[in-house]
């Protein structure tokens, strides 16, 4: 390994290379995070000048807060469905758009566009589409499924969230899959074609195994993004109708700022963090294992 002379120059080097990022990281994320943990042991309401220590009371409340666990379960359902759909859609798009067809880079560019826009803008535009545009189309064309706003029905509002999520992330994940597909060696594919392998067979036996690393990255990214969904939830459905689509991030936020129960909100945020961290780490662990086997 590359070695350095002297302790002082080693420290200086470390400070130069890692100092700025680590200092910013520690002061922006870690310090507030730890301070937030401290706040979970108080009954601070977000404004008053005083607060008292309440021990584990807030955590006991989280354990009993049925609405929190309900919204967590709903989030799990949402995450599961949208991660699956996002990745299937993205992979299919990538597969078709790397087969050398005409205008494929134009298509890729087009499908990527939703990623240029922030969550709040997206939510607003889609709310307009679901509650005005589709209803207007539905009524004029007599399509009953669009006749009433999707956002007014608990099940349809849930699927509206999923549709927008797929729309938002499919393009991004597609690009990652395209990159993965380009790494599949061409000569092997050609050899397989000459041997008379069908497209499906090639896909199943050669492409998919080689794509495992891309799948890991995409699933990790989409897991992380869908678990934390907030902007979209807020602007598209506001958790409605009657709180039926309130995801866990939104619940935490409301607990802290609407119910003015900052300690409990912060405690729930922490519990959420631990659960999500656990799930994501498991995913990475198992897929790495899969990668080794494949």
């Amino acid at each position: 390994m590359i070695s350095e002379k002297g302790l002082w120059s080693r420290i200086r080097l470390r400070l130069l290379f890692t100092g700025p990022t680590l200092f910013a990281f520690a002061t922006v994320m870690i310090v507030p995070f730890l301070y937030g943990i401290y706040l979970t042991f108080t009954n601070w309401d977000g404004i008053s000048t005083t607060s008292t220590m309440v021990g584990f009371e807030n955590y006991a409340y989280v354990w009993k807060d049925a609405v929190f666990w309900k919204s967590f379960y709903l989030t799990l359902k949402y995450v599961f469905i949208s991660v699956a759909l996002v990745n299937v859609a993205a992979f299919l798009l990538a597969y078709f758009l790397s087969s050398g067809m005409k205008g494929q880079s134009f298509f890729r560019a087009g499908f990527f566009i939703p990623n240029l826009v922030g969550g709040i803008v997206l939510g607003f535009v889609w709310q307009f589409i679901f509650s005005n545009v589709l209803v207007s189309i539905g009524q004029k064309a007599g399509i009953s499924i669009f006749g009433t706003s999707w956002l007014a029905d608990p099940d349809k509002a849930f699927f509206a969230l999923i549709i927008v999520t797929v729309w938002q992330y499919a393009g991004y994940m597609m690009v990652i899959y395209v990159a993965g597909l380009m790494n599949v060696p061409k000569d092997i594919m050609e050899a397989a074609s000459i041997d008379g392998a069908t497209a499906f067979r090639k896909l199943r036996t050669m492409i998919l195994p080689l794509m495992v690393p891309s799948f890991i990255v995409c699933v990790f990214l989409s897991l992380q993004r869908t678990f934390m969904v907030y902007d979209l939830n807020l602007t598209l459905t506001k958790g409605g109708p009657f709180k039926s689509t309130e995801m866990v991030s939104m619940h935490v936020y409301e607990k802290a700022f609407l119910s003015r129960d900052y300690g409990v909100g912060q405690a729930e945020a922490l519990v959420l963090f631990l659960l999500v961290a656990g799930i994501t780490l498991l995913q990475v662990y198992f897929s790495k294992k899969l990668e080794v086997e494949a």
Partner: protein, 447 residues
């Protein structure tokens, strides 16, 4: 190799510059930022100029407030007032507490009535202000703690059934008299007549805040004309000793709500509507009635087809004309202004007090309140007549003593939590027993 070296030197120096500016920026900003409060005071001592800010949580009067700040500067050239809006989707409490957490509170903050108490350690006691002697009776009761009033009552807002006179005139065949609607029965007949005349009867806007901050609280406030009895009712709700399912006022109100559901033009998909749809269909005359408050006038007027003839009807809770609530309109002071005492200088506090007085006593200030912002003021000395028909209607009810005080200090999450239950009931996903149970459950969780 040489070009490499210069490129490397360039990059290194670039990084160094960036690191230095990044850190320097932070270090340098310290005195600059901490001096924002004092800074204006310093500049104040130099030229006598004071800069104050107002956090506005009444989004619909943002432009009017900005104009008022300009008019105020004409009268007081040394005071600059800047209006900061609370962004849509954020609650005034959330924004105000974030500003306090950030050590940069606005000089004047506009809060909902129920939030004032939380801020009381940080805001000025206004009991000695001149306008205290001209305020409408009882308008500062809810912001008085330990005998000290902490807030300026900005606006009285009222709500009920808004009717479009052109539509109801046609329905009843002649000039409609709002005084005839004092029972649920009469209201139902009116709905049927409107429908018979070929238009929709009413639209029920499904927003949680409308259903649970305005409509349902009628069941609390309507318990008794005696405020102490209403407060006792709330205490009992919290203690879990109220049985709503057998409560007369609650059931009466819900009977009216059932009637509204039945005649709602959005009956097919009752939760699909947005706030924007209400003023549109009412103004265009596609329905005769909409449950909402006087703040909706600017939007109704942009669709107006009834040449400005609108008014309020009470929300009846029984078939007995004499019952409390059947002839009264729900109204109360809804927005309050509080003055920060933590970070504001004495000059800023004085300037903020001047602004409050300006609104109550100066011609331009009154003009802003009444004519520009369509506010029903909470001060007896203001004699300007409102121009908009809804404010006029509210004032007529106030003048006639026909007011049921709105529940303006409900718990902060009441509208959201109970709103969801009301929406469920509106959509037919829950029956009345479930609704009553959910409301009772909500109240027992209130700390």
């Amino acid at each position: 190799m040489k070009s490499w070296k210069s490129l490397q030197a360039l990059l290194v120096s670039l990084v160094m510059v960036m690191v230095v500016t990044a850190c320097g920026g932070n270090a340098g900003s310290k005195p600059a930022d901490s001096s924002t409060a004092e800074g204006s005071a310093n500049s104040g001592s130099a030229s006598g100029d004071v800069k104050i800010t107002l956090l506005n949580s009444k989004g619909e009067i943002q432009t009017q407030l900005e104009d008022a700040a300009k008019a105020f500067k004409e009268d007081y050239p040394n005071i600059t007032l800047e209006i900061i809006p609370v962004p849509a989707g954020q609650s005034p409490f959330e924004k105000a507490s974030a500003l306090y957490a950030a050590n940069s509170p606005s000089t004047i903050t506009m809060l909902d009535t129920g939030d004032v108490e939380k801020f009381k350690d940080r805001i000025l006691d206004l009991s000695e202000e001149k306008w205290m002697s001209d305020k409408v009776d009882g308008s500062t009761d809810l912001t008085t703690f330990d005998g000290k009033n902490y807030a300026f009552p900005l606006s009285i807002e009222g709500y009920g059934f808004i009717y479009n006179k052109a539509v109801v005139d046609k329905a009843v065949g002649g000039s409609f008299d709002p005084a005839t609607i004092t029972t649920t029965q009469a209201l139902g007949d009116l709905f049927k007549k409107i429908e018979a005349s070929g238009t929709g009867a009413l639209i029920v806007s499904p927003m949680d805040w409308s259903l649970a901050a305005h409509f349902l609280p009628l069941a609390y406030a309507g318990q008794s004309a005696d405020k102490a009895a209403v407060n006792q009712f709330i205490t009992d709700l919290q203690a879990g000793s109220v049985d709503l399912a057998s409560n007369k006022v609650f059931n009466g109100l819900m009977d009216t709500f059932d009637l509204m559901k039945e005649h709602n033009i959005d009956k097919a998909s009752p939760l699909a509507g947005t706030y924007e749809k209400g003023p549109e269909v009412l103004g265009k005359g596609e329905v005769g009635i909409w449950f909402q408050g006087n703040w909706a006038w600017p939007q109704i007027s942009s669709f107006d087809t009834a040449s400005g003839a609108y008014g309020f009807l009470p929300v009846p809770i029984s078939n007995n004309t004499d019952d409390f609530g059947n002839t009264q309109i729900s109204a109360a002071v809804s927005k309050r202004l509080v003055l920060d005492k933590e970070k504001s200088t004495t000059e800023q506090q004085a300037a903020a007090k001047t602004f409050l007085e300006w609104m109550v006593y100066k011609e331009k200030g009154q003009d802003f309140l009444i004519n520009k912002a369509n506010i029903v003021p909470a001060f007896k000395n203001i004699t300007l007549e409102p121009k908009d028909p809804l404010a006029k209607s509210i004032q007529a009810y106030i003048a006639g003593g026909k007011i049921e005080e709105s529940m303006s200090a409900l718990p902060a999450d009441h509208w959201s939590k109970v709103g969801a239950s009301m929406q469920k009931y509106l959509a037919g996903a829950a029956d009345r027993a479930t609704l009553a149970k959910e409301i009772q459950e909500y109240w027992t969780t209130v700390k």
